[in-house]
Chain length 276, copies 2
C-alpha cells in the first residue's frame, strides 16, 4: 500500500510558536496555567499538564503565577481583566490572529460595520470580535448568514485565519451589494490554504484518506470536509489507536494529512500503523 503524506501536515507557525513558548515557560515557572487549551490538541495539552500547565476556563480562577494566552487568543475583556490581576502574562496568541484582532479594532474605530467570516462559537472568532468595540459587528459563517446582513454604507470584513478562501470569496460577493464601500482584510493564513490545496491534491489520488487532528479543531474538521467532498472514504481521527483495518479494504493508495494543531509524534504513529 502506497502512502501519500502531506508535506504541510501538522503544526503551523503559530501553533509551533505557542507550543514552544508554553514548554519553555513551564520549564522555569512553578505556578502556571493557560486560559483555555493552548492549542486544539488534547494529546499535547495532556503533555503540558504533565509539566504543570493547568488549563483554566475563567479569568476569575486565576489568582497568581503565570498565565499563557493560547494560540487562538482571548477576548479583549479577558486580557483587560488579566491585566488588573497580579499575574505574569505569556502571550502566545498567533501573530496572524493578532493581526486579525488589530484589523477588527481599526475597522470598528473608523466607523465600519464589522463582518467576521468564521464560526460563531470558535474561541479565535470570539476573541477577534471582541476587538470591534464600536458600532455593529456580525459573525458570518456561510453565504446564508451573509444574505441576512442588513445594508450599510461602509462594511469591513476580517476572516478567521483558518477559513477557506472559497467561503470568504462567496461572502465577499454577497457583501459587495450590501454597501457602497467594502474593505476586506484577507486574514486567512497562507498555511491554511497551502494545507487545504495539498489535501485536495492528495485526496484526488488516494483510495482512502486519513485526516489527523483534534475533534475540537476547526481547521481539522474543515480539512476533513474538503477531503470527504473529493474522496468519501475519508476518516477524521485524533490518534493512531482509532484506525480500523477494514477501512483499507482494496485500497492501493492512502493519503494522510493533519490539522495545524496536530503534533508530529501523532502523525508518525499513524504512518507507522498504516504501514503495519
Amino acid at each position: 500500500m502506497k502512502i501519500l503524506l502531506a508535506q504541510s501536515a501538522g503544526f503551523c507557525f503559530g501553533v509551533r510558536r505557542a507550543t514552544t513558548m508554553a514548554f519553555e515557560a513551564a520549564e522555569s515557572r512553578d505556578r502556571i496555567c493557560s486560559l483555555g487549551p493552548i492549542i486544539h490538541s488534547p494529546q499535547l495539552v495532556e503533555k503540558l499538564e504533565e509539566k504543570g500547565v493547568r488549563v483554566l476556563r475563567q479569568v476569575e480562577e486565576i489568582t497568581g503565577g503565570t498565565v499563557i494566552i493560547r494560540s487562538h487568543g482571548v477576548t479583549s475583556q479577558e486580557l483587560d481583566a488579566l491585566g488588573e490581576r497580579d499575574v505574569e502574562i505569556v502571550d502566545a496568541t498567533c501573530p496572524f490572529v493578532k493581526k486579525a484582532q488589530e484589523h477588527a479594532d481599526l475597522l470598528s474605530s473608523e466607523g465600519y460595520t464589522v463582518v467576521l467570516v468564521g464560526e460563531k462559537d470558535h474561541p479565535e472568532v470570539q476573541g477577534i470580535v471582541s476587538y470591534a468595540r464600536q458600532g455593529d459587528v456580525y459573525v458570518v459563517a456561510d453565504p446564508e448568514d451573509a444574505v441576512a446582513l442588513p445594508r450599510c454604507s461602509r462594511m469591513g470584513i476580517v476572516a478567521q485565519t483558518t477559513q477557506s478562501i472559497e467561503n470568504l470569496r462567496t461572502i465577499v460577493d454577497i457583501c459587495l451589494e450590501k454597501c457602497k464601500e467594502l474593505r476586506i482584510y484577507n486574514t486567512i493564513c497562507d498555511a491554511t490554504s497551502v494545507r487545504q490545496n495539498e489535501a485536495r491534491s492528495i485526496a484526488r489520488q488516494a483510495d482512502v484518506m486519513l485526516v489527523i487532528g483534534g475533534f475540537n479543531s476547526a481547521n481539522t474538521n474543515r480539512l476533513a470536509r474538503i477531503c470527504r467532498d473529493i474522496q468519501p472514504r475519508t476518516h477524521h481521527i485524533e490518534t493512531a489507536g482509532q484506525i480500523e483495518s477494514q477501512w483499507f479494504d482494496g485500497a492501493k493508495t492512502v493519503g494522510i494529512t493533519a490539522g495545524a494543531s496536530t503534533p508530529r509524534w501523532i502523525i508518525d504513529e499513524v504512518v507507522k500503523r498504516v504501514q503495519a
Copy 2:
C-alpha cells in the same frame, strides 16, 4: 404586435442634469463650448450645436467664454489647465462620476494600488484614472486583465459607473488573492443596474429586442450585449430611421430599452415606428 417599453429607458440622473445645465448655459451665454461631447448622443449634441454650443476636443482650442464639462468628466490635468485660462467653467460632471474620481484620489493618496474596473479608452475612465496621482494605477476591463495584475499589499478598487456588477464581482474575486487588504468602492450607479435588470427581464419575454442609444455609448453597447445574450434577435440602433421591417417577421412581442444618454424624443419615435 405587443411592445414592452422599459420604464428605465433613457436619461439617467447625471445625463438629465448635464443636459439641463448645458441648455440653460446656452440660453444666457454668447461664447460657449463643451470639452468633448456633453453626452454620448450625437443627436442631442447636434441640438446643442444649433444653440451655439461647439464641441472642442483640446483645452488649447478654448481661448475664452464658457466651457461645459461633460457628464463623463475630464482629467484632473485638463481641469487644472482650464483653471489657468480666462474661461468660465460650468461643471456638468455627473455627481456619481465625481465620487469615483474622489475615491481614486483618496485611495491613491493613502498608498493603495488603484485598480479601475472599466474600459480603457472611455473618457469617464481616463478622467477617474487621472485622479490617482500617486503610486500605481491599472485599468482592468475584464477578468483576464485582473489575472495579469501584480501582487501588492493594499489594493483599492473603483468602478466605471456604468459597469455591470457581474464584471466587478468577478474582478473582485480575483483581486482578493492578489493582496492582503482590498478596499472596494462600489461606484456602479444604481440606474445602470436597474436598467440592466429590466432589460434582462424584457429580453426574456420579447421575440425581438431594440436597444436605442449612441454607437459611441459604452452603457448602450453593454445593454445591447446583455440583451443579445438572452435574445439573439437584438438590434442596437441610434434612431428610428435605422429600423428594418423584416426584423419583426413572426414576432409577437417587441422589447425596447435605451441607454442613459438617449433622449426621450428618439425613444418616442422608435415606439411610433414599431407601432406603424
